[in-house]
């Protein structure tokens, strides 16, 4: 009876041990499989192949701790990404500061013309709603139309894939310089376009007023009876009036080929060159008397005044106003 019980107990222990061993083997198999699966998952993320069983047997796999190795590598990757994000944030802040500090309105558009970024100046230049600006098309936000304008800088850049500068773009009676630059991906495709707007309305208006005043001055000089001439430092004529042309007998198209010493009587040229030098040094000459030489070789005695205008210390042109001396007046030669 005792032997029977012992045998019975022994069998039970053996069965228990077999059962325990099987359980442990299954557990170890599951653990190794888990390690392989997780390691392979991480390795695939790293861009490489899974581990083949013949490369690392189960014991080596546990001993070398590949999960720990890849996890440490991922920790470094995350650390690097964090630094990278910080640098990107700083770069973004720097770009924003630069965009805000420049006096031109800037838009960053994607390839479908939608606004991705803008600076404060663009909102000041155009009546834009900041809250809904991102994602709107430039055409809608700036030009205020749903159809592309004929002179669209964005379209031009997208077509040519080159920078483009439109010097006088007019919108609602205001003038702008528009400069656009494409941003390309590594395949050369335009992914974004940067547009910079500078308002030139006041400059254009000033230039128009200056042109008008210049025209008035030219009309006055053209129609006065005195002889008027503007001569550049190299002796070319910048302007002569009608009285000048009639007195000396030249046609308007002949003036550009003349130098000022061509219209000075030979005996007066030396003195005139001295006068010219004096003028180039900033002095004004009053009551200058000289003899001009007409196209047909006739000498004409004149008297007048000459001064020279300067820009940044450099002579631009002499301005001479003369009247013809009547017969009996002393010419320089008569004086000498």
């Amino acid at each position: 009876m005792k032997a029977f019980i012992s045998k019975l107990l022994g069998d039970t222990e053996e069965t228990q041990l077999v059962s325990e061993n099987r359980f442990l083997r299954e557990q170890q198999f599951k653990q190794v499989e888990y390690i392989r699966r997780k390691t392979n998952q991480l390795l695939m993320l790293m861009g490489t192949l899974p581990i083949r069983p013949e490369e690392l047997d189960d014991d080596t796999l546990i001993e070398t701790d590949p999960i720990g190795t890849v996890a440490d590598a991922f920790a470094q990757i995350l650390e690097h990404e964090k630094e990278l994000n910080e640098r990107l944030r700083m770069a973004h802040d720097e770009i924003q500061a630069i965009l805000s500090s420049v006096g031109v309105g800037i838009l960053l558009l994607d390839s479908s013309m939608q606004i991705q970024m803008y600076n404060q100046k663009i909102v000041e230049l155009f009546p834009l709603n900041k809250d809904s600006l991102i994602g709107q098309t430039c055409c809608h936000a700036v030009c205020g139309t749903s159809t592309l304008p004929a002179d669209c800088t964005f379209t031009r850049i997208l077509e040519t894939r080159r920078p483009y500068h439109q010097s006088d773009w007019v919108q609602s009676g205001r003038h702008f310089d528009v400069a656009g630059v494409p941003i390309k991906n590594r395949f050369g495709e335009v992914t974004h376009v940067v547009l910079a707007y500078t308002e030139t309305t006041s400059r254009v208006e000033t230039e128009r007023r200056l042109r008008e005043r210049e025209q008035i001055c030219l009309d006055v000089f053209e129609n006065i009876s005195d002889v008027v001439q503007c001569v550049t430092p190299d002796g070319s004529f910048l302007f002569v009036n009608r009285a000048w042309r009639e007195l000396l007998g030249y046609l308007p198209h002949e003036i550009s080929a003349l130098k000022f010493w061509n219209i000075i009587a030979p005996e007066c040229r030396k003195e005139c060159m001295e006068h010219f030098d004096i003028l180039m040094h900033g002095e004004r000459l009053e009551d200058v008397r000289t003899c001009l030489l007409s196209k047909d070789g006739q000498e004409i005695a004149v008297a007048g005044q000459i001064n020279c205008s300067f820009s940044n210390g450099k002579p631009i042109a002499t301005f001479g106003l003369f009247r013809q001396l009547e017969a009996g007046h002393e010419t320089p030669q008569a004086k000498s």
């Binding site: 390795l43 490489t48 890849v70 990757i77």
Partner: protein
């Protein structure tokens, strides 16, 4: 700068990558400070892509040079922001 050479010839990916990652992890401080340069010798072509890509993702500079019968993959500290701006 100290250069530590690790001969991995005979190993193929991913074992070579694991070996490289283990070395990079173990020498992180010296690598980051620019005191150490790891130089891996490998004759496995896949490793010339996987190791540089992983090391670059971890923020290291990498160079790959073909030598007689193997590749030399160097891993080193990347220049700092100031060094990049000054260069």
């Amino acid at each position: 700068m100290e250069v530590k050479e690790i001969d991995m010839r005979g190993q193929i990916c991913p074992s070579s990558l694991l070996t490289a990652l283990r070395e990079i992890n173990a020498n992180k401080a010296a690598l980051r400070s620019g005191l150490l340069r790891l130089s891996f010798l490998s004759d496995n072509r896949d490793s010339t892509a996987t190791i540089p890509e992983s090391a670059a993702n971890m923020g290291y500079g990498v160079s790959v040079v073909k030598e007689d019968d193997s590749y030399r993959i160097d891993v080193f500290a990347q220049p700092t922001e100031t060094e990049i701006r000054n260069s």
